[in-house]
Amino acid sequence: MEVKLMGYRVFLLLLVLFSGQLLAGPAIQSWTTEKGARVLFVPAPELPMLDLRVVFDGGSARDTIPGVAALTSALLEEGAGDWDANEIARRLDSVGANMSVDSQRDMAWLTVRTLTEKRALTETMDTVAQVLGAPRFDMDAFERNRKAMLVSLNHDEQSPGAVAQKRFMNTLFGDHPYASQVEGTKESLARITREDVLAHYKKYYVAKNALIAIVGAVDRAQAEQLAELVTAGLEPGEPAPELPPVADLDGPQTLNIPFPSSQSHILMGQPGMHRGDPDYFVLYVGNHILGGSGLVSQLSEEVREKRGLSYSVYSYFSPMRRNGPFLIGAQTQNAKAAEALDVIRQTLARFIEQGPSEAELTAAKQNITGGFPLRIASNSKILGYLAMLGFYDLPLDYLDTFVDKVNAVTTEQIRETFKRRVKPDQLLTVVVGREPSAR
């Protein structure tokens, strides 16, 4: 029992990697509602509460005009059936339920958390059913939300980080639907009509285009009833059509965007991978070592720990329906921007060339597999997994096989795959800040 300080390294080396059998995910139940919505359900009887999320393939990738998807989802809670926004809010607040709506590039979704006490559950789910099935899209709410989105765009323009992020995504995706600004633009918001929103809703907020995730203290029969109830008002409809593939960049591109800030925000990257990508686990584990593991990653070691250049430096693959971004980000005082860029480029180039060491890979596997229980340690985390697995049609044993797939990754695979998938001569670089020459 006496673990002496000096014995620590030994102790670490003795750690065996977790085996997959010991670390299975929760048992996921799945079925399809009468109208054709797919449901993923995990019972969680410990706490008297329920989390439910309905996800539609109706994010900004489906925009006819930038901002339509965002405006559509925002307007859901602004009036439905006989209820105006005040009544919807009153019904939920009075039983302590929390509901939110949002959209990103792939997904548009509604999430709700409620107590499972009978009246709270009934009141909440009746409200969700109306909100999804009979939204009113009243003109006054439409105008108010449009104006709020314009103010929000103004706020974004005050933030060098937000400016960098938007320009990066917009440029990265070129003429792919993913290039559509999720929040819209001032010009596009001025053009959107109520009919555009209605058309978006009618096409994408349909049962066959929906995925329902449920985690909570209900049994299968109740979960089935809830799934039928919340989709009762939806048309069966059709799944959204396939999105085109994302094209790789055909060369390097650098955007220097002057901004009155003390820091320069740096974003660098290219199209990365998609959900279900055959290289997913290799890229995921490799990136963990490069810039995905916080303070112990190579990028953090080089940029932050060794040189004190940045508070936050990271890299990630954001897998989407189609190839989402592979992105490296950092911020540093303007005078150090060039140095930080150099260090990031060198670190990435070295990683692509040499890959990780065996020791680094072992440490990464220990971190990812040892941390597996944390990934599914709360209802809200399980809900997130269900929504992701269901939406992207991933196998339901994804969590059961996760640890084994991570453990199977080799340094050679990482080296080979990064060389094949990440092209240092085709990087998009966005720098937002005061140009050093202007100092």
Binding site: P48, L92, S94, V151, H155, P258, S261, A363, A377
Partner: protein, 460 residues
């Protein structure tokens, strides 16, 4: 009437609402080690994980002028090596064991945490006990980390119009209390900070008798106590500095200030000085203030959303905030951004009208009932996160309150009457007691992103 009835049915039909609203005391265990360190354990066996948090009673409100930010810089240096673990090894060991770790500094506390599989608890204890007393504070590591902290300050404050607004608001509002200083410290103080400032700070405050260990998760209390005693027990207690009783002098009139920085949107903060649980002469007042804030901003049906964002459409965002749990008295704060086509004067007037209404009219029983149900529900929702459960216990202990207060919180709120809400509004939400700061945007034009391709793009 209908709502009253339905709420009554809720309470009758499901006693779980009442039971789950209380932290079951039998699941929480505590002990004090011989050296004065407090250990609190809460069992939660839903998943095979645990969170371990070490809380120190020190934060920015303990700092004298000239070294503001020292608590936070020291927090960064706690990852930079001890006599037995070189810089960076702490994080590597936690990572290799599948853990996530971090730390945070507030006005009244500095806390360190690891979330790990519950069979790794011992690793967390060994490392935390080591760095509680054996930190190296190497000058070359300090020099680099200080730059990281300055970058953090630029990110959070210098380049954020609302960050600057908030910083100036607090600096202007407090005459005497150290809450006037930013947690991250003033840039000038960071520029002049020495590693010796940290060494003194560390020696003075990082002692077992100034710390609380909180563990929540799939653990057995007896084992936690045994391990805590093994690792933290041998650490020597320190003579802690005696804290002076700080109090804010009574404000004698409204204070206004303006922040002028490049920005697109105006913003307004209003703050009324208020008591907190640790200082309130009348025990119910902080709870009445909590209710009052929830009446204004507790959900989408509260008055700000209903009347200001919808309704009159004067604001695009408006919020109210009050924290009853702090070491020293604080403020009830309102803030907001005007909607398009409205100006900041109209927003200020609308917020003042909302306060005037609370001072003259009684809130309705329906509004109170809504808040009570929201609070009860949120107590259940909190149980989904072991981290939050530990956070609540650690925070209460560290500001000088008993963790059992979390249990009583809902009951105390339930007792508040409409008359009491009006009474605290009349007593504290007065113009004489108000500080108001506006963000007055300067044009960003000359520095705006150049739209033309020729200006913004440099191929290659």
């Amino acid at each position: 009437m209908r709502l009253l009835l339905s709420a009554a049915i809720v309470m009758l039909s499901c006693p779980i609402w009442v039971n789950a609203s209380v932290l079951p005391e039998k699941q929480v265990h505590e002990t004090v080690l011989d050296n004065g360190m407090k250990v609190i354990v809460k069992e939660d066996h839903r998943a095979p994980i645990m969170v371990s948090q070490v809380w120190y009673k020190v934060g920015s409100s303990y700092e004298p002028d000239g070294i503001t930010g020292v608590s936070h810089v020291l927090e960064h240096m706690m990852f930079k090596g001890t006599t037995s673990h070189p810089p960076g090894e702490f994080s590597r060991i936690i990572a290799a064991n599948g853990g996530t770790e971090n730390a945070f500094t507030g006005r009244d506390y500095t806390a360190y945490f690891q979330t790990m599989a519950s069979d790794r608890m011992e690793i967390s204890f060994e490392l935390e006990a080591d760095r509680m007393r054996n930190l190296l504070l190497l000058p070359e590591e300090f020099a680099k980390e200080l730059e990281v902290v300055k970058e953090e300050r630029r990110l959070r404050t210098e380049d954020k119009p609302t960050g600057q607004l908030y910083e100036q608001f607090l600096a202007v509002a407090y005459r005497s209390l150290p809450y006037a200083n930013p947690v991250i410290g003033w840039m000038n103080d960071l520029n002049h900070m020495q590693v010796d400032d940290l060494a003194k700070w560390y020696r003075r405050w990082y002692a077992p008798n100034n710390a609380t260990l909180v563990v929540v998760g799939d653990v057995v209390p007896e084992e936690v106590f045994k391990l805590a005693k093994h690792y933290f027990g041998p650490l020597k207690r320190e003579q802690l500095p005696e804290l002076k009783p700080l109090r804010e002098p009574e404000q004698k009139g409204e204070v206004r200030s303006v922040v002028r920085v490049p920005a697109n949107e105006p913003h307004l903060i209003m703050g009324y000085k208020t008591p907190v649980i640790t200082t309130a002469e009348t025990a119910w007042e902080p709870y009445a203030l909590e209710m009052l804030v929830a009446i204004l901003d507790g959900g989408n049906s509260a008055r700000f959303s209903r009347d200001l964002i919808r309704g009159s459409e004067v604001a695009v965002s408006a919020s109210a905030d009050y924290n009853a749990f702090s070491r020293l008295p604080g403020m009830l704060m309102l803030d907001g951004t005007p909607a398009r086509g409205q100006d900041i004067d109209q927003l200020e007037q609308a917020l003042r009208d909302q306060i005037a209404r609370l001072r003259t009219e009684l809130v309705t029983e329906e509004e109170l009932e809504r808040v009570r149900n929201q609070v009860i529900a949120s107590k259940v929702y909190e149980l989904d996160s072991v981290f939050y459960q530990a956070m609540e216990i650690g925070m209460l202990e560290t500001i000088g309150l008993d963790w059992r207060l979390a249990d009583r919180y809902v009951d105390e709120l339930k007792k508040i009457t409409p008359e009491q809400v009006r009474e605290v509004a009349q007593r504290y939400l007065r113009d004489d007691n108000l500080t108001l700061t506006r963000l007055d945007p300067l044009p960003m034009d000359n520095t705006k992103p150049r739209q033309a391709a020729a200006g913004g793009r440099h191929g290659g």
